[in-house]
Subunit: 444 residues, 2 copies
């Protein structure tokens, strides 16, 4: 197979271990940003590094002309840590091609998708000008929660004004199936501390006489769901906007995802809210998950202790209609009402994020779908995703624009995991998609 | 106050940081054993250090004479670690006297009680011979579960033949109240691993579609008790020998321990099996405790994970009539029957110990009670304790003898905790008790 144009640049980009969370990689992250800036300049854009309190943003643009659409492309050049290193079949930061896929940390998340955009721009610029006013914002802190992005958008609000944002950092339903993600779940996080005795107790001496915080946290956690997988917090579902008929049908048209979810998770069997399909449960229904639970002795062997405290960390995934702060209040009321005797609760609110939904049938949504059809042919999958992408909310809050999520990751690309990979075919599709998208957005 | 005879020896013994669990203290443990051996020889006993695969046993005896009772005294010279050191008001291994109490790691558990016996023997030997054939076995591994004691008893079974064992390593109900502990709870430990997906999952992407092992372990743990504090495992109480009228009355005569338990534990309120007093719950009723529970992310902040596995560590305290192996089987059946959908269980059996009860009205029991009366005056408190002392079972299994538990620790002596202490008055009482006990046992 001949090497597609632009692939060498992707391999170069992948070799930077731009791990944003590790202070040891600060220099690598900056080198990566510098290389990108130089590359963007070399294809004919003005590009610069903009400092933030953390890792820098790479910002590029063409010469803007009045009367044209302004399109912001967002991508990120930082990556997750590569550990555990011993599970990689080839070195984590040495891109290795096997069976048409590039194996490297960051291959799919997000450098492969980033370079699809960049190569698309390069080809368009080689042919002449871009059809739109372009702002290409490439962040270096996405993998640590984009702590400086919203302030950055606020600081440069005027300069960053645009008509919409397009991001390739989500997934495709399957190979060759163009996928438009029109919704994301929101989130509300809290930590619950269950406090009993003032000191750790010997469970022989005091066992039977006091409530054990481990038992209490378990009994409390067990009240969060009913036996059929529904969240049992009063009022939890009150504001949920029901799935619309068109979207239930659209998802149904994608086939039954149960077998794939079973394979991807390795769970003994699927389990979730009764009355909904696997896709509906993951994309369209809210959840309560215990992300962490802990108390007492968790080491090897046994220790006969009744601990003074136990805890659990909860996160609620929310769907359109639900308000994270209201859900947090309902959850807190539920926990207090169900608190077992003999312990006290301390509830600590964590971060929240609004659910996001954009109309796939809007003008921009339709343009995005045409670009996907031009790239992949056939029908476009209209989906939501179950995760939360806080930057999408930041674009809406600060810049007042919608975000088009046109991701190219496949379910088996192993984002965040060892042996992350990205099909060369998806890189090539990304180039095509970039060009088609800018053309469609220019005209519609 | 004048210094009581023998106190200096106790202070010397306390200065050895004989922490059996810490490899850094191996030399200190041995030095402590050597000092004890020398001290025992100096008072007129034959004494030696006997090796084990771990820390050595100090073994002393007088010249045995046919036709006399053979009494084994058991004590231990090892101590718990002193950490957290910053909570000690005076150095953990520098005995410091405040308000008539000696503050030092090991003061009450067990060196203060050990030295009561030793000083008693010293005084009797200074006056002439002991009234009994004595075996004084002083272990160096009690705080790590006596892993080598049972093999030691088996190895030297003939040499260690005796009529009964007496131990001062339990508690007194209150200051000045001679206390005979005639029962201990048994124990059965198990670990339960709850396995779901084969990898940690992102709770945004997969939340709602699979059973979360954290949720499953909580729901499973919540089935262990009913709302009124009873263990909800089918058959759990079937073999429990009910408390006898005399013992319920004896305990009732000690007063209501609720206020003291509340103070000692610091729990917001007491909670336990409905229909039983605080003492009955702690001494006479079986329990199921979750000593540890854990799964997912327990660090600072939040991580939106569905972990592949969660776990809990259970221990059951058992009372006379119950068999640890049968309880383990009942518990396993219960857990399997209540296992939530979508996860698999792995159950690992841990250590077991039989409940222990000896008749306080037997000849030896009555002798022990007379010795307590001679020491403290007034009535003797007849109690059980909630903990388990595996060595008692070892003495019964290997040597075929009963154990008399004549402890001198007060509830506020802080055994195992910072600022462990022992009243000088209790040391003096221990000396008296030793002498009275040998006299009573010699004759009855």
């Amino acid at each position: 197979m001949s090497t597609p144009p632009g692939l060498d640049d992707l391999l170069t980009l992948l070799r930077f271990p731009s791990v944003s969370t590790n202070p040891a990689n600060i220099g690598d992250v900056r080198d990566c940003a510098s290389w990108l800036m130089a590359k963007l300049r070399s294809i004919g854009l003005s590009a610069e590094i903009r400092e933030t309190p953390g890792h820098p943003v790479v910002l590029a643009r063409n010469v803007h002309q009045a009367g044209r659409r302004t399109v912001m492309l967002y991508a990120h050049y930082d990556v997750q840590p590569a550990e555990p290193l011993n599970e990689w079949l080839s070195p984590a930061f040495e891109p290795t091609i096997r069976d048409g896929r590039i194996y490297c940390r960051g291959a799919t998340d997000n450098k492969g998708q980033l370079m699809g955009h960049l190569r698309g721009l390069e080809e368009l610029l080689a042919e002449g000008d871009l059809p739109v006013n372009l702002i290409f914002l490439i962040e270096g802190e996405e993998e640590i929660g984009s702590p400086n992005l919203k302030p950055f958008l606020e600081q440069y609000r005027e300069e960053l004004k645009c008509d919409m944002v397009a991001i390739s950092d989500t997934g495709m339903v399957g190979p060759g199936l163009g996928t438009f993600t029109y919704g994301l779940r929101g989130i509300a996080c809290m930590e619950v501390r269950v406090k009993g005795p003032t000191i750790d107790l010997h469970s022989g001496i005091f066992g039977g006489a006091v409530m054990n915080p481990n038992t209490a946290v378990a009994r409390l956690a067990a009240t969060l769901h009913d036996d059929e997988g529904r969240v049992a917090i009063a009022g939890f579902y009150d504001d949920v906007l029901p799935l619309q008929t068109w979207e239930r049908q659209a998802w149904e048209g994608l086939g039954d995802s149960s077998a794939e979810t079973l394979t991807l998770t390795g769970s003994p069997e699927l389990f979730g809210e009764v009355g909904y399909t696997d896709m509906e449960r993951r994309w369209g229904r809210p959840t309560a998950e215990i992300n962490g639970i802990g108390g007492g002795y968790q080491g090897a062997g046994s220790k006969t202790v009744i601990p003074r405290e136990a805890m659990m960390k909860l996160s609620f995934r929310l769907v359109p209609g639900q308000d994270p702060d209201k859900i947090m209040a309902l959850a807190e009321a539920h926990l207090n009402a169900h608190c077992p005797k003999g312990v006290r609760l301390e509830i600590i609110h964590g971060h929240v994020g609004m659910p996001y939904v954009t109309d796939p049938h809007s003008a921009f949504g339709a343009a995005a779908q045409r670009a996907l059809t031009a790239t992949f042919g056939g029908k476009v999958a209209l989906i939501r995703e179950g995760g939360s992408i806080p930057i999408v909310q930041a674009f809406k809050d600060v810049l007042g624009v919608e975000t088009l999520l046109l991701g190219l990751a496949l379910p088996d690309c192993q984002a965040h995991a060892p042996n992350e990979n990205y099909p060369i075919a998806n890189f090539e599709a990304g180039v095509k998609l970039n060009k088609a998208l800018l053309a469609e957005l220019a005209e519609n």
